[in-house]
Amino acid sequence: MTSQSGSIRRFLRRHCSSVTMARIVDPILTDIHIEADAADAQGHQWASRRIRAAGSIVLLKAITLYSWTRFWSIQEWSREDRRALARTLTYAATLTAAAIPLMTLPALIQLPANRWLYLVPEVLPIALPFCLFIGLIYAFRARMVSLRPHAAVLIAAVLCSIVSFATLTWVVPASNNASRVTALMDVGIQRGLPVEEVQSLIEGNRRFDREQKQRPINYHTRWALAAAPVVLAMWAFLVVARLPNTGSRQWPEHGCRTLPLRLHSSCSGSAEPATNLERRT
Protein backbone atom coordinates (compact mmCIF):
# COMPACT_ATOMS: atom_id res chain seq x y z
CA MET A 1 0.00 0.00 0.00
CA THR A 2 1.38 3.43 -0.90
CA SER A 3 1.77 6.11 1.75
CA GLN A 4 -0.95 8.17 0.01
CA SER A 5 -3.60 5.43 0.06
CA GLY A 6 -2.48 4.48 3.56
CA SER A 7 -3.10 8.00 4.83
CA ILE A 8 -6.48 8.14 3.02
CA ARG A 9 -7.44 4.85 4.68
CA ARG A 10 -6.34 6.05 8.13
CA PHE A 11 -8.30 9.28 7.68
CA LEU A 12 -11.45 7.46 6.53
CA ARG A 13 -11.23 4.87 9.32
CA ARG A 14 -11.63 7.69 11.82
CA HIS A 15 -14.87 8.90 10.19
CA CYS A 16 -16.49 5.82 8.60
CA SER A 17 -18.02 2.74 10.20
CA SER A 18 -16.35 -0.66 9.96
CA VAL A 19 -19.08 -1.80 7.54
CA THR A 20 -18.39 1.13 5.20
CA MET A 21 -14.68 0.44 5.41
CA ALA A 22 -15.10 -3.25 4.59
CA ARG A 23 -17.70 -2.85 1.82
CA ILE A 24 -16.70 0.38 0.11
CA VAL A 25 -13.35 1.89 1.09
CA ASP A 26 -11.06 -1.15 1.18
CA PRO A 27 -12.21 -2.76 -2.12
CA ILE A 28 -11.92 0.55 -4.00
CA LEU A 29 -8.47 1.30 -2.54
CA THR A 30 -7.34 -2.21 -3.52
CA ASP A 31 -8.61 -1.71 -7.09
CA ILE A 32 -6.86 1.65 -7.40
CA HIS A 33 -3.66 0.18 -6.06
CA ILE A 34 -3.66 -2.83 -8.41
CA GLU A 35 -4.43 -0.75 -11.49
CA ALA A 36 -1.93 1.99 -10.67
CA ASP A 37 0.81 -0.56 -9.95
CA ALA A 38 0.11 -2.31 -13.28
CA ALA A 39 0.47 1.03 -15.08
CA ASP A 40 3.68 1.76 -13.18
CA ALA A 41 5.10 -1.65 -14.12
CA GLN A 42 4.53 -0.87 -17.82
CA GLY A 43 6.31 2.47 -17.39
CA HIS A 44 3.17 4.61 -17.77
CA GLN A 45 3.72 7.00 -14.89
CA TRP A 46 1.16 9.56 -16.03
CA ALA A 47 -1.45 6.85 -16.49
CA SER A 48 -0.75 5.67 -12.95
CA ARG A 49 -1.26 9.21 -11.62
CA ARG A 50 -4.46 9.57 -13.62
CA ILE A 51 -5.76 6.26 -12.21
CA ARG A 52 -5.05 7.43 -8.65
CA ALA A 53 -6.74 10.80 -9.21
CA ALA A 54 -9.79 9.24 -10.89
CA GLY A 55 -9.88 6.57 -8.17
CA SER A 56 -10.04 9.22 -5.45
CA ILE A 57 -13.08 10.77 -7.15
CA VAL A 58 -14.68 7.31 -7.48
CA LEU A 59 -14.03 6.67 -3.77
CA LEU A 60 -15.59 9.99 -2.80
CA LYS A 61 -18.62 9.32 -4.99
CA ALA A 62 -19.10 5.80 -3.60
CA ILE A 63 -18.84 6.96 0.03
CA THR A 64 -21.32 9.79 -0.60
CA LEU A 65 -23.79 7.45 -2.31
CA TYR A 66 -23.48 4.78 0.37
CA SER A 67 -23.84 7.28 3.25
CA TRP A 68 -26.81 8.90 1.53
CA THR A 69 -28.67 5.60 1.06
CA ARG A 70 -27.95 4.52 4.63
CA PHE A 71 -28.89 7.94 6.01
CA TRP A 72 -32.49 7.62 4.78
CA SER A 73 -33.07 4.09 6.10
CA ILE A 74 -34.29 5.22 9.52
CA GLN A 75 -34.95 1.63 10.68
CA GLU A 76 -31.17 1.19 10.77
CA TRP A 77 -30.75 4.12 13.16
CA SER A 78 -30.09 3.36 16.80
CA ARG A 79 -32.91 3.89 19.34
CA GLU A 80 -31.13 6.90 20.86
CA ASP A 81 -30.71 8.53 17.44
CA ARG A 82 -34.38 8.08 16.56
CA ARG A 83 -35.52 9.37 19.93
CA ALA A 84 -33.26 12.43 19.72
CA LEU A 85 -34.60 13.34 16.27
CA ALA A 86 -38.26 12.69 17.15
CA ARG A 87 -37.97 14.68 20.39
CA THR A 88 -36.30 17.63 18.68
CA LEU A 89 -39.04 17.87 16.07
CA THR A 90 -41.83 17.37 18.64
CA TYR A 91 -40.45 19.93 21.10
CA ALA A 92 -39.78 22.48 18.36
CA ALA A 93 -43.27 22.08 16.86
CA THR A 94 -45.01 22.24 20.26
CA LEU A 95 -43.01 25.26 21.40
CA THR A 96 -43.68 27.09 18.12
CA ALA A 97 -47.40 26.33 18.37
CA ALA A 98 -47.40 27.71 21.93
CA ALA A 99 -45.17 30.70 21.22
CA ILE A 100 -47.23 32.15 18.36
CA PRO A 101 -50.40 32.87 20.42
CA LEU A 102 -48.24 34.12 23.31
CA MET A 103 -46.31 36.54 21.11
CA THR A 104 -49.49 37.88 19.53
CA LEU A 105 -51.42 37.98 22.82
CA PRO A 106 -51.61 41.82 23.08
CA ALA A 107 -53.00 42.03 19.54
CA LEU A 108 -55.30 39.08 20.21
CA ILE A 109 -56.96 41.02 23.04
CA GLN A 110 -57.39 44.23 21.02
CA LEU A 111 -58.09 43.04 17.49
CA PRO A 112 -60.84 40.89 16.02
CA ALA A 113 -59.88 37.30 15.15
CA ASN A 114 -59.75 37.84 11.38
CA ARG A 115 -57.12 40.59 11.76
CA TRP A 116 -55.15 38.65 14.38
CA LEU A 117 -54.52 35.91 11.82
CA TYR A 118 -52.60 38.39 9.67
CA LEU A 119 -50.03 38.74 12.48
CA VAL A 120 -49.13 35.05 12.51
CA PRO A 121 -46.73 35.26 9.49
CA GLU A 122 -44.89 38.12 11.23
CA VAL A 123 -44.12 36.17 14.40
CA LEU A 124 -43.45 32.79 12.76
CA PRO A 125 -39.90 33.63 11.52
CA ILE A 126 -39.02 34.86 15.03
CA ALA A 127 -40.57 31.94 16.93
CA LEU A 128 -39.29 29.17 14.66
CA PRO A 129 -35.49 29.51 15.17
CA PHE A 130 -35.69 30.03 18.93
CA CYS A 131 -38.10 27.12 19.45
CA LEU A 132 -35.90 24.87 17.32
CA PHE A 133 -32.88 25.96 19.37
CA ILE A 134 -34.57 25.18 22.71
CA GLY A 135 -36.07 21.93 21.42
CA LEU A 136 -32.71 20.80 20.07
CA ILE A 137 -30.85 21.50 23.31
CA TYR A 138 -33.51 19.75 25.40
CA ALA A 139 -33.72 16.71 23.09
CA PHE A 140 -29.97 16.20 22.56
CA ARG A 141 -28.94 16.78 26.18
CA ALA A 142 -26.91 14.03 27.83
CA ARG A 143 -27.38 11.65 24.89
CA MET A 144 -24.74 9.78 22.98
CA VAL A 145 -26.02 10.26 19.44
CA SER A 146 -24.26 9.70 16.14
CA LEU A 147 -23.84 12.19 13.31
CA ARG A 148 -27.06 11.04 11.59
CA PRO A 149 -29.58 12.92 13.81
CA HIS A 150 -27.28 15.95 13.72
CA ALA A 151 -27.43 15.93 9.92
CA ALA A 152 -31.20 15.33 9.95
CA VAL A 153 -31.77 18.26 12.33
CA LEU A 154 -29.53 20.44 10.20
CA ILE A 155 -31.65 19.55 7.14
CA ALA A 156 -34.76 20.44 9.18
CA ALA A 157 -33.12 23.77 10.09
CA VAL A 158 -32.41 24.47 6.42
CA LEU A 159 -36.07 23.74 5.63
CA CYS A 160 -37.10 26.11 8.45
CA SER A 161 -34.83 28.76 6.91
CA ILE A 162 -36.50 28.31 3.53
CA VAL A 163 -39.94 28.58 5.15
CA SER A 164 -38.84 31.73 7.03
CA PHE A 165 -37.45 33.26 3.86
CA ALA A 166 -40.61 32.54 1.88
CA THR A 167 -42.76 33.91 4.71
CA LEU A 168 -40.72 37.13 5.01
CA THR A 169 -40.48 37.66 1.27
CA TRP A 170 -44.00 36.90 0.09
CA VAL A 171 -46.41 36.10 2.91
CA VAL A 172 -45.66 38.99 5.31
CA PRO A 173 -46.09 41.82 2.72
CA ALA A 174 -49.29 40.20 1.46
CA SER A 175 -50.69 39.75 4.97
CA ASN A 176 -49.74 43.33 5.93
CA ASN A 177 -51.55 44.61 2.89
CA ALA A 178 -54.57 42.42 3.59
CA SER A 179 -54.60 43.63 7.19
CA ARG A 180 -54.61 47.28 6.06
CA VAL A 181 -57.43 46.64 3.61
CA THR A 182 -59.46 44.87 6.32
CA ALA A 183 -58.83 47.75 8.77
CA LEU A 184 -60.02 50.30 6.19
CA MET A 185 -63.14 48.23 5.53
CA ASP A 186 -63.79 47.98 9.28
CA VAL A 187 -63.77 51.76 9.84
CA GLY A 188 -65.91 52.30 6.75
CA ILE A 189 -63.51 54.36 4.58
CA GLN A 190 -64.55 54.31 0.94
CA ARG A 191 -62.02 53.32 -1.63
CA GLY A 192 -60.99 56.13 -3.95
CA LEU A 193 -59.13 59.37 -3.44
CA PRO A 194 -60.98 61.99 -1.47
CA VAL A 195 -59.17 65.22 -0.44
CA GLU A 196 -58.07 63.89 2.96
CA GLU A 197 -56.42 60.87 1.36
CA VAL A 198 -54.65 63.05 -1.21
CA GLN A 199 -53.32 65.15 1.66
CA SER A 200 -52.24 62.03 3.54
CA LEU A 201 -50.41 60.85 0.40
CA ILE A 202 -48.53 64.18 0.29
CA GLU A 203 -47.62 63.69 3.97
CA GLY A 204 -46.62 60.14 3.11
CA ASN A 205 -44.17 61.40 0.49
CA ARG A 206 -42.49 63.53 3.15
CA ARG A 207 -42.18 60.49 5.37
CA PHE A 208 -40.75 58.54 2.43
CA ASP A 209 -37.25 59.95 2.97
CA ARG A 210 -37.21 58.78 6.57
CA GLU A 211 -38.51 55.33 5.62
CA GLN A 212 -35.94 55.04 2.87
CA LYS A 213 -33.19 55.19 5.48
CA GLN A 214 -34.82 52.28 7.32
CA ARG A 215 -35.01 50.11 4.24
CA PRO A 216 -31.45 48.64 4.33
CA ILE A 217 -32.01 47.62 7.97
CA ASN A 218 -35.33 46.06 7.03
CA TYR A 219 -33.71 44.24 4.12
CA HIS A 220 -30.82 42.82 6.16
CA THR A 221 -33.13 41.91 9.05
CA ARG A 222 -35.11 39.70 6.71
CA TRP A 223 -32.00 37.86 5.55
CA ALA A 224 -30.78 37.49 9.14
CA LEU A 225 -34.12 36.10 10.30
CA ALA A 226 -34.20 33.68 7.38
CA ALA A 227 -30.70 32.39 8.24
CA ALA A 228 -31.40 32.24 11.99
CA PRO A 229 -32.67 28.59 12.17
CA VAL A 230 -29.46 27.19 10.67
CA VAL A 231 -27.16 29.46 12.68
CA LEU A 232 -28.97 28.79 15.96
CA ALA A 233 -29.09 25.03 15.29
CA MET A 234 -25.32 24.98 14.78
CA TRP A 235 -24.85 27.01 17.93
CA ALA A 236 -27.13 24.57 19.79
CA PHE A 237 -24.89 21.67 18.69
CA LEU A 238 -21.91 23.50 20.20
CA VAL A 239 -23.82 24.18 23.42
CA VAL A 240 -24.95 20.53 23.67
CA ALA A 241 -21.38 19.34 23.11
CA ARG A 242 -20.27 21.44 26.08
CA LEU A 243 -23.09 20.44 28.39
CA PRO A 244 -22.23 18.02 31.21
CA ASN A 245 -23.16 14.40 30.60
CA THR A 246 -25.42 14.09 33.66
CA GLY A 247 -28.63 12.09 33.87
CA SER A 248 -31.73 13.54 32.28
CA ARG A 249 -33.37 14.12 35.69
CA GLN A 250 -30.47 16.21 36.99
CA TRP A 251 -29.99 18.10 33.76
CA PRO A 252 -32.42 21.06 34.05
CA GLU A 253 -31.07 22.15 37.44
CA HIS A 254 -27.42 21.43 36.66
CA GLY A 255 -27.62 22.78 33.12
CA CYS A 256 -29.35 26.01 34.12
CA ARG A 257 -26.73 26.67 36.78
CA THR A 258 -23.71 25.92 34.61
CA LEU A 259 -24.85 27.13 31.17
CA PRO A 260 -24.34 30.92 31.70
CA LEU A 261 -20.87 30.35 33.13
CA ARG A 262 -19.98 27.91 30.37
CA LEU A 263 -21.11 30.37 27.71
CA HIS A 264 -19.18 33.16 29.44
CA SER A 265 -16.05 31.02 29.64
CA SER A 266 -16.37 29.95 25.99
CA CYS A 267 -16.72 33.63 24.93
CA SER A 268 -13.81 34.83 27.07
CA GLY A 269 -11.68 31.83 26.12
CA SER A 270 -10.98 30.62 29.69
CA ALA A 271 -12.14 27.19 30.76
CA GLU A 272 -11.49 27.82 34.47
CA PRO A 273 -14.89 29.08 35.75
CA ALA A 274 -16.86 26.23 34.18
CA THR A 275 -14.36 23.66 35.39
CA ASN A 276 -14.57 25.01 38.91
CA LEU A 277 -18.31 25.06 38.89
CA GLU A 278 -18.42 21.56 37.48
CA ARG A 279 -16.21 20.39 40.34
CA ARG A 280 -18.51 22.01 42.87
CA THR A 281 -21.70 20.66 41.37
Binding site: M1, R23, I24, I34, V58
Partner: protein, 104 residues
Protein backbone atom coordinates in the same frame (compact mmCIF):
# COMPACT_ATOMS: atom_id res chain seq x y z
CA UNK B 1 -45.35 -5.47 20.30
CA UNK B 2 -46.02 -4.45 16.71
CA UNK B 3 -45.92 -7.27 14.15
CA UNK B 4 -42.91 -7.15 11.86
CA UNK B 5 -43.82 -6.46 8.26
CA UNK B 6 -43.02 -9.30 5.85
CA UNK B 7 -39.85 -8.65 3.87
CA UNK B 8 -40.44 -7.88 0.20
CA UNK B 9 -37.69 -9.12 -2.05
CA UNK B 10 -36.84 -6.57 -4.70
CA UNK B 11 -34.33 -6.70 -7.51
CA UNK B 12 -33.28 -3.65 -9.48
CA UNK B 13 -31.93 -3.84 -13.02
CA UNK B 14 -28.38 -3.23 -11.82
CA UNK B 15 -28.69 -5.86 -9.11
CA UNK B 16 -29.97 -8.43 -11.59
CA UNK B 17 -27.08 -7.69 -13.93
CA UNK B 18 -24.59 -8.22 -11.09
CA UNK B 19 -26.34 -11.46 -10.09
CA UNK B 20 -26.26 -12.70 -13.69
CA UNK B 21 -22.53 -11.98 -13.94
CA UNK B 22 -21.82 -13.62 -10.60
CA UNK B 23 -23.87 -16.73 -11.49
CA UNK B 24 -22.03 -16.97 -14.81
CA UNK B 25 -18.55 -16.63 -13.24
CA UNK B 26 -19.46 -18.21 -9.90
CA UNK B 27 -17.36 -15.59 -8.12
CA UNK B 28 -15.81 -12.23 -9.03
CA UNK B 29 -14.10 -9.09 -7.74
CA UNK B 30 -15.70 -5.66 -8.07
CA UNK B 31 -13.29 -4.59 -10.78
CA UNK B 32 -13.91 -7.83 -12.72
CA UNK B 33 -17.65 -7.14 -12.63
CA UNK B 34 -17.09 -3.65 -14.02
CA UNK B 35 -14.90 -4.90 -16.86
CA UNK B 36 -17.16 -7.84 -17.80
CA UNK B 37 -20.31 -5.69 -17.77
CA UNK B 38 -19.09 -3.79 -20.88
CA UNK B 39 -19.71 -0.34 -19.44
CA UNK B 40 -23.07 -1.07 -17.88
CA UNK B 41 -21.63 -0.97 -14.35
CA UNK B 42 -19.66 2.02 -13.08
CA UNK B 43 -16.87 1.88 -10.56
CA UNK B 44 -18.47 4.54 -8.34
CA UNK B 45 -21.71 2.63 -7.92
CA UNK B 46 -20.75 -1.05 -8.16
CA UNK B 47 -19.54 -1.34 -4.56
CA UNK B 48 -22.59 0.55 -3.24
CA UNK B 49 -24.86 -1.91 -5.10
CA UNK B 50 -22.79 -4.87 -3.92
CA UNK B 51 -23.06 -3.63 -0.31
CA UNK B 52 -26.83 -3.29 -0.64
CA UNK B 53 -27.11 -6.78 -2.17
CA UNK B 54 -25.05 -8.21 0.67
CA UNK B 55 -27.45 -6.60 3.16
CA UNK B 56 -30.37 -8.17 1.30
CA UNK B 57 -28.66 -11.57 1.42
CA UNK B 58 -28.37 -12.04 -2.35
CA UNK B 59 -24.58 -12.31 -2.29
CA UNK B 60 -21.86 -13.08 0.21
CA UNK B 61 -18.28 -11.90 0.28
CA UNK B 62 -14.99 -13.00 1.72
CA UNK B 63 -11.49 -11.62 1.80
CA UNK B 64 -9.05 -13.46 -0.40
CA UNK B 65 -5.36 -13.65 0.36
CA UNK B 66 -3.54 -10.66 -1.03
CA UNK B 67 -2.06 -11.33 -4.48
CA UNK B 68 1.53 -10.16 -4.97
CA UNK B 69 0.43 -7.38 -7.33
CA UNK B 70 -2.03 -5.97 -4.75
CA UNK B 71 0.71 -4.62 -2.50
CA UNK B 72 -0.48 -6.39 0.64
CA UNK B 73 -4.15 -5.50 0.25
CA UNK B 74 -6.59 -8.41 0.34
CA UNK B 75 -9.25 -8.48 -2.36
CA UNK B 76 -12.95 -8.95 -1.59
CA UNK B 77 -14.53 -11.76 -3.63
CA UNK B 78 -18.28 -11.88 -4.13
CA UNK B 79 -20.35 -15.07 -4.60
CA UNK B 80 -24.09 -15.44 -5.17
CA UNK B 81 -26.07 -17.06 -2.34
CA UNK B 82 -28.86 -19.61 -2.77
CA UNK B 83 -31.40 -16.83 -2.12
CA UNK B 84 -29.74 -14.67 -4.76
CA UNK B 85 -29.94 -17.47 -7.34
CA UNK B 86 -33.60 -18.09 -6.47
CA UNK B 87 -34.47 -14.39 -6.76
CA UNK B 88 -32.67 -14.15 -10.10
CA UNK B 89 -34.49 -17.23 -11.34
CA UNK B 90 -37.84 -15.88 -10.18
CA UNK B 91 -37.09 -12.49 -11.75
CA UNK B 92 -35.95 -13.90 -15.09
CA UNK B 93 -38.82 -16.42 -15.47
CA UNK B 94 -41.57 -13.86 -16.31
CA UNK B 95 -39.22 -11.73 -18.39
CA UNK B 96 -38.42 -14.72 -20.61
CA UNK B 97 -42.10 -14.89 -21.55
CA UNK B 98 -42.73 -11.17 -21.57
CA UNK B 99 -39.81 -9.90 -23.61
CA UNK B 100 -40.61 -11.86 -26.85
CA UNK B 101 -44.27 -10.85 -26.56
CA UNK B 102 -43.38 -7.19 -26.15
CA UNK B 103 -40.80 -7.11 -28.91
CA UNK B 104 -42.90 -9.12 -31.35
Amino acid sequence: MAARRPRVLTLSAKESLILQLLVRHDQAYGLELVSTSRGRLKRGTVYVTLGRMEEKGYISSRLEDAPPEAGGLPRRVYTPTALGRQVLEAWSQPTRFLIPAVTR
